[in-house]
């Protein structure tokens, strides 16, 4: 098995009838998202804002009907885009974003879906020519639990971060933590924690969704889980580097000669 390429597969404007659309496939988990952006449109009187555009985000699940998880995803995307889109340029209008999950390994997993959804949405917003303050890019990092375990198929995506030894027992475990970028569900099930980080082009934090995700049956075995804040800050710095350098590069390459920047 060859090492999978790092860059996601992006196809722009697969839906010619919408103002902007994008299909995005995550390189490792093969999560495929299709988004379409329409706007500025006429807004329903109920949702009209006097000096801002209304943003509507609809996440459509790959299987079944939309439920609580999809509502949560769309509210997360909505709050991120709210700060990115210059809503005061089109007051009293509607910007409608529809994201369809085409393929996913785990249709209920929030961390696996959030990064492709955000990246795909931002690309289609650029295509649609919606005025935006800046461009953001999202990356999903998983910190692995067992450093000895062999991971296959992710050769290009692993990097190591020095761990701050907090106390006594930690130092025997080794002073490095292994971080995998854009993990698939198999790697995520081995992970200790999952971090979805979104940074703007300038390096400002747009969204953090970090959670402990180790397996277990709970109760007292869960005592002492979690991470130290200094480890997190180091990880976030690394995420920032990935988003600001590689993320921006991916956006630039994907858009190519389209003059949207």
């Amino acid at each position: 098995m060859t090492s999978s390429p790092l860059t996601p597969e992006i196809s722009l404007n697969p839906l010619p009838q919408s103002d902007g659309s994008c299909q995005y496939t995550c390189p490792t988990s093969r999560t495929t998202i299709l988004t379409s952006v329409n706007g500025p449109l006429e807004v329903r009187p109920k949702d009209e804002l006097p000096n801002h555009a209304t943003i509507e985000v609809i996440v459509k699940p790959g299987i079944g009907v939309a439920g609580v998880r999809e509502t949560r995803l769309s509210s997360l995307i909505h709050s991120t885009l709210q700060s990115l889109i210059l809503t005061n340029h089109h007051p009293r209008t509607l910007i409608q974003i529809v994201a369809q999950i085409v393929q996913a390994e785990d249709h209920t997993s929030l961390p696996l879906l959030l990064t492709p959804l955000l990246n795909c949405t931002i690309l289609s917003l650029l295509i649609a020519g919606i005025p935006m303050r800046t461009v953001g890019w999202s990356v999903h990092l998983a910190v692995l639990q067992d450093t000895k375990k062999d991971i296959k198929g992710v050769e290009g995506q692993v990097f190591k971060l020095a761990k701050t030894g907090d106390g006594d027992a930690m130092e025997t475990e080794g002073d490095e933590q292994i971080v995998v970028r854009n993990p698939n569900s198999e790697i995520l099930s081995l992970a200790k924690s999952s971090h979805t980080l979104t940074f703007s082009k300038e390096g400002d934090v747009l969204l953090i969704e970090s959670l402990e995700c180790s397996q277990g049956s709970g109760g007292e075995s869960a005592d002492g889980q979690g991470w130290d804040i200094t480890d997190f800050l180091k990880l976030a710095e690394e995420g920032k580097r990935i988003c600001c350098e590689e993320g921006v590069e991916i956006v630039r390459e994907a858009l190519g000669d389209r003059k949207v920047f």
Partner: protein, 364 residues
């Protein structure tokens, strides 16, 4: 020649537009907040300092029909959490390990299990939280089907249960009562069913920061709840419960708590490029309406054994582990601010922990 000579500043100016404070509060919330927060020292309209959280009260076991309950009031936010245990019978072909793991990967079996009529147990395993806001708790959320906030909150609480692994799922087992053999070893007993816990959170009054209140209510209610002792009756081939409620739900030792911050932008007239902002701990709904960013930190505090079991403030002998950080919205909160917020979150978690320890468990 100019006719429009500047008038001397005197009586001829129209009287300045004045209105009462309460009207100002209603018509221009952003400016009203800004005036308060740019004051020195910055004070919020509700009288608190930016880093101060509201006092909270906790009452446990006030609902007689639930297996456990808690009422939490923080300022004008009041939530009730009731815990109801229901029995989930394990069918002969089922793999019990599936129920005993948080974050279990989805298989065709879990999808099949969902269709077996166990309510929400399909995607949630054994613990299912639900939030209801439509009780007239706030004029923003009228009666009707659960809206976006209620659904998001339910999902967030469900995620918190999974992330923290609060309840020891082993303690929810229901065994075969093999009185004859007398073997009390857990490994030899057969698992016949599970308790599935429904955590119903009802918001009585909503004045911001419902996540913290709801999560605290859930932790307190789980800690106070007592399930009946259930066992499998071989002759009847059913699970029977004893009338006495004396089977506690075992939780983690170090309990995690959430702390929420809201970031209010302060448009700075002198410096347009970099606008300043201020972080408010435990926002109320008026402040949440103006906030552009919300930061939630879930952390546990462990008291260092060297310091004894009476933690002093500020933060002596506390070790903090972060289990979840969620930041959504704008771009103003930097990584350094998250670090400073963690200190506030730690002290709040320690306060929660202390008040929970004071609460007397129900008599067996």
């Amino acid at each position: 020649m100019s006719i429009l000579t500047p008038q001397p500043a005197g009586d001829s100016l129209p009287p300045p537009l004045t209105f009462s404070t309460s009207l100002f509060r209603q018509i221009s919330p952003a400016l009203y907040l800004e005036r308060h927060l740019t004051h020195s020292p910055p004070t919020r309209p509700n009288g608190r300092s930016p880093s101060q959280c509201r006092d909270f009260t906790l009452t446990t076991n006030s609902l007689s029909h639930a297996h456990g309950s808690a009422v939490v009031r923080a300022g004008d936010t009041a939530v009730v959490c009731g815990i109801r245990g229901e029995i989930l019978t394990v069918a002969p072909g089922d793999d019990p390990s599936r129920f005993e793991s948080y974050h279990c990967p989805p298989t065709s079996a879990t999808h099949a299990c969902g269709s077996r009529g166990a309510g929400g147990a399909s995607w949630g395993g054994l613990i299912i939280p639900n939030v209801e806001l439509s009780t007239g708790c706030s004029k923003k959320y009228p009666l009707g089907p659960p809206g976006g906030l209620a659904q998001t909150l339910s999902d967030q609480l469900h995620e918190l249960v999974n992330v923290t692994k609060l309840v020891s799922l082993d303690s929810l087992r229901i065994y075969d009562s093999d009185d004859g053999s007398g073997s009390s070893l857990a490994s030899t007993k057969k698992i016949k069913g599970y308790w599935s816990l429904y955590l119903d959170v009802l918001c009585i009054s909503l004045d911001g920061n419902i996540l913290d209140a709801a999560w605290y209510a859930i932790v307190a209610a789980l800690k106070s709840s007592r399930l009946p002792l259930a066992s499998w009756n071989q002759t009847e081939e059913r699970i029977f419960c004893q009338a006495l409620l004396n089977h506690p739900i075992s939780l983690r030792q170090s309990l995690p708590f959430t702390t929420t911050f809201a970031l209010i932008p302060l448009p700075n007239s002198e410096n347009h490029r970099k606008e300043t902002a201020i972080l408010l701990n435990d926002p109320d709904s008026y402040e949440e309406g103006e906030a552009c960013e919300i930061l939630t930190i879930l952390c546990t505090t462990e008291f260092d054994p060297a310091q004894g079991d009476s933690p002093r403030f500020p933060l002596a002998g506390l070790r903090t582990r972060v289990e979840k950080i969620e930041k959504r919205g704008g771009w103003n909160i930097g990584l350094t601010q998250i670090e400073s917020c963690l200190d506030l979150a730690t002290s709040k978690a320690a306060r929660y922990f202390q008040s929970l320890a004071k609460e007397q468990p129900a008599p067996l």
